[in-house]
């Protein structure tokens, strides 16, 4: 086992992908700039400008390049610097990447990975959003949002090898998070959730960065005698609810946590599935914690209250168990 950061795990996965001569990376500031979050630092020097393609600021173009190349059998890795900018490519992503296989009767595949980042740090309204639920809403897309270095590495590999377009969601506040990554080859399939922590009192269903917040809260609450069970979904579409439901049948209490606006989004879908398939096991209403329902404010005192925090998670757990 090696200890790696999320950034290092991704770098290692990307290098492995680049061993496949069909792979190339296209995105803004991935080469000369040295990469916005340092993930592709050194790649331009190692693989050259044909395969590490610094793109103009043209997100729709980046995804169009990915789709076209994928149709001809390449394995493009498209990087959209921040998920906020993916909105400029929604036509390519939703009308095209997601549809081409089905619309042409299964004759064409689009094996492309779109890497992008969620995240916030006083970046204000247009630079702090997450669109997890918007991507996950679309049949034809696969959506992956891992939380740990080991899962980042394995799920990137799975995404890269998948014949369908995969939205691979990273998090700007998670690149430094460290964890164990096996030395020997290992596999995580797209569509497999993970039991992150065992507990008997409440089931917390979450993914991406909030997994770490929930783990810390669970450690805290254990001191008070509250045992949280944490399910890390890892993949949002397809979404594996089997472990979450199994846990819910045991704890009869659930909290759903996501960095997504609180209504109409990921937490709505996850709780709907818990209600739908776990109604008989319900001892209390399911609670959810997400972003407060406003565009992101710049001011730190306000932003701190909009985002998902350990305090908000803790309060929600107490409410469910009250």
């Amino acid at each position: 086992m090696a200890i790696m950061s999320v950034r290092e795990a991704l770098q290692s996965a990307l290098h492995e992908a680049m061993d496949d001569q069909r792979a190339f990376i296209v995105g803004e500031d991935i080469g000369h700039y040295g990469s916005t979050y340092g993930v592709t630092a050194g790649f331009l020097e190692q693989y050259g400008p044909e395969r590490i393609r610094d793109s103009p600021i043209a997100e729709s173009g980046i995804i169009g390049i990915g789709i076209g190349a994928a149709m001809l059998g390449m394995r493009p890795i498209c990087e959209i610097m921040s998920v906020n900018f993916s909105l400029l490519a929604f036509d390519q992503i939703i009308n095209h990447a997601a549809k081409i296989h089905y619309m042409f009767g299964g004759q064409i595949n689009v094996p492309m990975v779109l890497r992008t980042t969620n995240g916030w740090t006083q970046l204000s309204a247009t630079h702090s959003q997450s669109f997890d639920s918007m991507f996950s809403y679309v049949p034809g897309l696969k959506v992956v949002a891992p939380a740990t270095p080991a899962d980042m590495k394995a799920l990137f590999k799975a995404s890269f090898e998948d014949p369908d377009p995969v939205i691979f969601i990273e998090h700007t506040l998670m690149y430094g998070v460290k964890g164990e990554v096996p030395d020997e080859p290992y596999e995580v399939k797209i569509g497999e959730s993970r039991l992150a922590r065992e507990g008997k009192d409440i089931t917390i269903v979450t993914y991406s960065r909030p997994v770490h917040l929930c783990m810390a809260v669970a450690d805290d609450l254990a001191k008070e005698g509250i045992e949280c069970e944490i399910i890390d979904l890892r993949t949002l579409r397809p979404m594996d609810m089997s472990k979450a439901l199994e846990s819910f049948r045991k704890t009869n209490h659930a909290l759903v946590v996501a960095e997504d606006w609180e209504t109409h989004g990921m937490t709505a879908e996850i709780s709907a599935q818990l209600y739908e398939h776990g109604f008989d096991y319900l001892d209390a209403p399911i609670a959810r914690v997400g972003f407060k329902e406003v565009p992101f404010p710049y001011a730190r005192n306000l932003e701190q209250q909009v985002v998902v925090t350990p305090d908000r998670i803790k309060a929600a757990i107490k409410k469910v168990l009250a």
């Binding site: 700039y33 916005t36 400029l88 970046l123 204000s124 406003v294 001011a299 306000l302």
Partner: protein
């Protein structure tokens, strides 16, 4: 003599007072941003901080040509435009500090400065978006027959996306009173212009829509002033949009976090030799429009003004919690029925 006809001719009709005021604004922007950098280092300012250091002549030269009734849209590198338009440095610094007294109540921060009373319609941070919005404003002015223009500021990197071409075409089709001011600082974030654009002379991109286009020295506020004046007159005559490419250089990183791996120290030093403030100051001194004592006095006043802005920002109350109410996102709040 304050303004002999010769001198006036020489400076595109600008009086000595106007020239001195332009110089003062450039110094104010520079000084203001030095304090922004300090505030960022001290974590009083957060988020992204895009400094305009080196590009001051563009904002100051162009704004000098505009009238109070003209409209401004700009990008996230907006401190210079805001100050040149006469926005209150106190309200700007307070915005950067995330305070309730900020020009956007602390909701926008550095990238989204605004003052509607000055027709300063905000800084925008998604590349390309405000170019098309400028056409919307131009359309409104055209329909109403208002004798006003819209100026929109953006970088060289913002001329590669669809919205740039959409905007140029809309503007030319509608003969809209829009001035597209491209601040070509030769790099987009960390990607040099030769790598991000097939055509490196941005003004040549206007030809796709037959837009009247020109390229000027963006380090010379008078050249920028003249080009803007030409574009303004052209628009007011009802002849349509112009694209101005003002070539300059940013001395600092793209934002406060940039390691600047994409360029050498020598490159930056070479351009620093053409620092627009140093050059303009020397010009004014040589021509006897400014003397050393006046210059000292001016610098002193500017430092004073910025220090007051910082103090004001520091002492102001934090942003108001009413902005956490979901209804605050609406002009006409309709609370959900539970």
């Amino acid at each position: 003599m304050a303004s002999t006809p010769d001198v006036t001719e020489q400076h595109a009709g600008l009086s000595n007072e106007q020239l001195l005021d332009m110089y003062r604004q450039m110094v104010l922007i520079r000084n203001f941003e030095e304090k922004c950098q300090e505030g960022y280092t001290r974590a009083q300012i957060g988020g992204f901080l895009h400094l305009y250091v080196g590009e001051e002549a563009i904002a100051v030269g162009s704004m000098a040509a505009l009238r109070p009734e003209d409209h401004i849209l700009t990008h996230y590198r907006d401190h210079g435009h805001a100050i040149a338009r006469g926005l209150d440095p106190k309200a700007l610094m307070a915005e950067l500090f995330g305070k309730a007294t900020g020009c956007a109540q602390g909701l926008g921060g550095s990238m989204h400065l605004v003052d509607v009373s000055k027709n300063f319609w905000g800084g925008y941070a998604i590349i390309g978006a405000h170019l098309v919005m400028a056409c919307g404003m131009g359309t409104a002015l055209k329909i109403r027959g208002d004798k006003q223009v819209v100026i929109v500021y953006f970088g060289d990197g913002s001329t590669n996306g669809g919205e740039f071409y959409e905007a140029m075409n809309f503007a030319q089709l509608g003969k809209l009173p829009v001035i597209f001011m491209c601040e070509n600082n030769l790099v987009a974030m960390g990607t040099p212009i030769e790598i991000h654009s097939a055509v490196t002379e941005i003004y040549r991109k206007g030809c796709a829509s037959d837009v009247r286009s020109e390229r000027v020295d963006g380090n010379d506020p008078i050249e920028v002033y003249e080009a803007t004046k030409r574009a303004l007159d052209y628009a007011l005559e009802g002849r349509g949009p112009s694209l101005i490419e003002a070539v300059s250089y940013r001395f600092r990183g793209h934002s406060a976090q940039d390691t600047q791996k994409y360029r050498t120290k020598e490159d930056v030093e070479k351009h620093r030799a053409q620092d627009p403030i140093v050059t303009f100051r020397q010009q004014l001194l040589n021509e006897g429009i400014l003397n050393e004592d006046q210059d000292k006095q001016l610098l002193h006043e500017v430092e004073q003004e910025v220090a007051e802005a910082v103090k004001f920002a520091d002492e102001s109350p934090v942003a108001e919690e009413k902005w956490l109410d979901p209804q605050s996102a609406y002009a006409n709040p309709i609370p959900p029925q539970a």
